[in-house]
């Protein structure tokens, strides 16, 4: 038994050259092969890659898709994102749990099926959805949920759940998925056809400096949300000293309600990889990594195939397009269920085989990133845009968009609307126009997902999508007038509490405290002083947290308080009995009530 385990684990470690920096791949492979990464397996890994068990354990326990204890052969991860919850998550979860005879988080007695929930899986336009191992099952209803369970009981084979396939490349044999693209508006940058190699041909005619100058002239800014000038980022990395340079593509797409990178990877992977290769040329880098979130594992074989085709076409590998010295190749690094790994320094940690904790800055990735070398991290859409800019020119690109924000943006629109999906629109479009396009249903608030994560009310629907007004990484969530904004904010908090890396105090502890008080107000027990307490606590968290996760996590709460102030001022009332506002009387007497068998008359 033990010897068999040693052989299997050793073999996996060998596949990654017994290289400690490939720990993330090693533990994912062990999980896939053995259903868990047991303590024994961790000890074997540690001895094979010259590490320590506790170091391996720190990586394994970081990722939601890895486990030390065995789980079911089939794991159903029901997406509990805000939109899924609005579209009936509770009913579906209930139906599936009843059918299976377990509660959420449990495994059937025979070890066959585990039912659990997971944060946004990038399917908010076809919610409620679930991941069954790697298979995406969209558009669930209680009845479909029950059927999934019945089918799985019969065959325990997620692949057999695929009864029809989605549009576009979702029907490609290597994807073979029920997912739908829902591309509702095709723009010129990303959805206008792309001939492999056309951008690279224009690239290799120029010096790397000129390529960077072209990207600068286009005034392309990062599409992941923060909006850093892409040309400038490339230039920093090019000019930084280091033995090697790296080009990292951020395909972690974890922001709740975002799914546009999934569609770009499904429909224009060539353009994305070509953009990375252009960056490789510009930086003088020979190595790229696509960090693909674990939820999108179903796209992996397809993407590997696209890479392989590009190698055959001379668009990747040695002497690309026959140009001596232009070597560049790309590998795919899988994630394993950790939103924070979308933060660029956490992404680098994860690629280096460490816990996905963000790193301290300075130094910045452009100076010292992956393996301590100059590194750029760009969003999927940024690379795709860069390829198009090289093909059609900086001026062509810069003429689109608003005055200060050039080009187009791919948006994922979802929530209370009749046409959820992907829209490529010019920057400068107003929130109201988006509501019309998506056929919103009596909209009362929008959440503009991104680094600022603004919750806006109707008085700001005239605002423009651009970096100076409503900045977004691509998620646009629509809420109708009946929805409780603070309840929505509470959902976001649950998400961030779950996804915090736990490194710094304000994010790790502060968010839990903030959730307590928000919940109190949402459940009707709030007092006037709670609103101020909430604001102050939120302020400490957003100001003192180390990375963007903690810094922006309280924004939905702050937004709800700011934009819907009177709503919450009306909801709170003074505390009876003169109790401290942080004191929860019902919780305090619950135990005693249970023992004496009657309810307290004061609570």
């Amino acid at each position: 038994m033990h010897q068999a385990l040693v052989t299997v684990v050793e073999d996996i470690c060998g596949r990654y050259g017994f290289d400690r920096t490939r720990m993330t791949d090693i533990v994912i492979a062990v999980q896939q092969r053995l259903g868990c990464v047991s303590t024994e397996a961790m000890e074997i890994i540690a001895s094979k890659v010259n590490s320590h068990r506790v170091e391996v354990e720190s990586v394994v326990t970081f990722y939601a898709f890895l486990s030390v204890k065995p789980r079911g052969r089939v794991i159903i991860r029901l997406c509990k994102d805000i939109v899924d919850w609005m579209k009936g998550y509770d009913e579906v979860a209930d139906a599936m749990a009843k059918e299976l005879g377990v509660t959420m988080g449990e495994t059937t007695a025979d070890g066959g099926i585990t039912l659990t929930s997971t944060p946004c899986i990038g399917m908010s336009d076809q919610a409620p959805a679930a991941l069954v191992n790697d298979v995406v099952v969209p558009n669930l209803t209680p009845e479909r949920g029950r059927q999934v369970i019945r089918d799985l009981r019969r065959h325990l084979d997620p692949a057999q759940l695929i009864t029809m396939v989605g549009d576009g490349n979702n029907a490609h044999p290597l994807v073979h998925s029920m997912v739908r693209n829902n591309i509702r508006r095709r723009g010129p940058v990303h959805f206008d056809g792309f001939e492999s190699g056309c951008a690279l041909e224009r690239t290799i005619d120029q010096t790397p400096e000129n390529v960077i100058a072209t990207i600068r002239a286009s005034r392309l800014r990062g599409r992941g949300g923060a909006g850093f000038a892409t040309g400038q980022k490339w230039e920093f990395a090019r000019n930084a000293s280091g033995e090697r340079r790296y080009v990292l593509c951020n395909a972690d797409e974890g922001e709740p309600g975002t799914f546009k990178d999934r569609v770009l990877l499904t429909e224009c992977p060539d353009q994305v990889f070509e953009g990375m290769t252009v960056a490789g040329y510009a930086l003088g880098s020979d190595s790229g990594i696509v960090y693909l979130r674990g939820e999108y594992a179903y796209l992996r074989a397809f993407l590997e195939n696209v890479l392989e085709t590009r190698r055959r076409q001379g668009l990747l590998g040695k002497a690309i397009l026959g140009k001596p010295g232009f070597d560049f190749d790309i590998r795919i690094q899988m994630g394993a269920g950790a939103y924070v790994c979308g933060e660029e320094t956490a992404l680098i940690s994860s690629c280096e085989g460490l816990r996905g904790d963000p790193k301290n800055r300075p130094p910045f990735p452009a100076q010292k990133g992956y393996m301590g070398c100059p590194t750029i991290v760009n969003n999927v859409e940024t690379f795709s845009a860069a390829a198009r800019i090289m093909e059609r020119g900086a001026n062509w690109f810069a003429e689109m968009g608003s005055e200060r924000t050039t080009g187009t943006k791919v948006l994922s629109i979802c929530g209370d609307c009749r046409k959820p999906g992907v829209y490529e629109v010019p920057f400068g479009i107003t929130a109201r126009e988006l509501l019309d396009m998506a056929d919103a249903d009596n909209p009362g608030a929008m959440l503009i997902g991104g680094p600022c994560r603004q919750m806006i009310g109707p008085e700001r629907f005239g605002g423009q999508i651009c970096y100076d007004d409503l900045a977004t990484g691509g998620a646009i969530l629509i809420f109708n007038r009946a929805r409780n904004k603070l309840e929505i904010a509470e959902h976001y908090l649950d998400f961030f509490i779950e996804e915090s890396c736990g490194h710094c105090t304000p994010c790790r502890v502060g968010l839990v405290l903030l959730k307590e008080v928000v919940h109190k107000v949402v459940s009707g027990a709030g007092e006037p002083s709670d609103l101020d307490y909430m604001r102050r606590l939120a302020n400490v968290i957003s100001q003192t947290s180390r990375c963007g996760l903690g810094q922006a996590a309280p924004n939905p709460v702050l937004g709800a308080l700011q934009n819907f102030h009177t709503l919450y001022a009306d909801m709170v009332s003074d505390r009876k009995l003169g109790l401290l506002s942080t004191f929860d009387l019902s919780k305090a007497v619950a135990d005693a009530e249970l023992r004496v068998g009657r309810m307290s008359q004061y609570v």
Partner: protein, 235 residues
């Protein structure tokens, strides 16, 4: 070494290029409160007690390097409020009973609380259920008092070269783990640097408790940062 000049609360301070704000301040006799920073370990940037306002933005002084003309606020009402909030968070996250804790008077968390005038935390206690590891003959680990500063993790890695400690899990579930079933099963020795590195009473030597009576310990006489304790020679 080029000289860098900047200000802290209006006072002109100079330091070496590449130095952190915390180190440069310390060299000029200005104390910036801190918990996770320790000796010459790589900065951890986790406790955030050293938060300062730098050219308008909040930064961790133990991580941020100095530059010419930088304007640092270290002792403003706002910064004091942030630090108090963060200390309160650390108190309610664990189970800290100063009145009968063996580390009282030597504990940096307690000392900082006194410095910031904290008598009771402003947040509700989270009362977590945490274990105590008494397995080792000479050292014990009381998780109730652990503030996840990572000093032990780094000292064990960087100075003792043993990797006895590491963090596992994430978010509010994040906790300290040892490289073995329990402390006794690790390579930890009482003479290791790590046993003296804990700022609180989480990692403690056995059989020396109360050797110095309460009332005669460093922080009983003077608040932290008043010259009796720098991270360089922490007890």
């Amino acid at each position: 070494m080029s000289n860098v000049t900047f200000t802290i609360d209006g006072r002109e301070v100079s330091g070496r290029a590449g130095q952190t704000i915390l180190k440069a301040a310390e060299a000029s006799g200005i104390y910036i409160p801190r918990l996770c920073a320790y000796k010459n370990l790589v900065p951890h940037g986790s406790c955030r007690v050293c938060s300062v306002r730098v050219n308008g933005r909040i930064q961790a002084a133990c991580v941020q390097t100095i530059s010419d003309g930088m304007v640092v606020e270290n002792d403003s009402a706002e910064i004091r409020e942030f630090r108090t909030a963060i200390l309160d968070m650390l108190f309610v996250e664990g189970n800290h009973y100063c009145m009968f804790c063996e580390k009282s008077g030597l504990c940096e968390l307690q000392a900082l609380a006194y410095r910031f005038g904290i008598t009771a935390p402003q947040y509700p206690f989270l009362n977590p259920d945490r274990p105590v590891d008494l397995s080792h003959p000479d050292v014990y680990l009381d998780h109730n008092r652990c503030i996840l500063c990572g000093r032990c993790v780094r000292v064990s890695q960087e100075l003792d070269h043993k990797n006895v400690f590491q963090f596992v899990d994430r978010g509010y579930r994040k906790r300290l783990q040892v490289n073995g079933e329990a402390l006794a099963a690790t390579r930890l020795a009482v003479t290791d640097e790590v046993t003296a590195s804990c700022p609180t009473g989480a990692l403690m030597r056995k059989r020396v408790g109360y050797a110095v009576p309460i009332g005669q310990r460093p922080f009983d006489a003077q608040p932290i940062g008043a010259g009796n304790l720098q991270t360089e020679d922490s007890p």
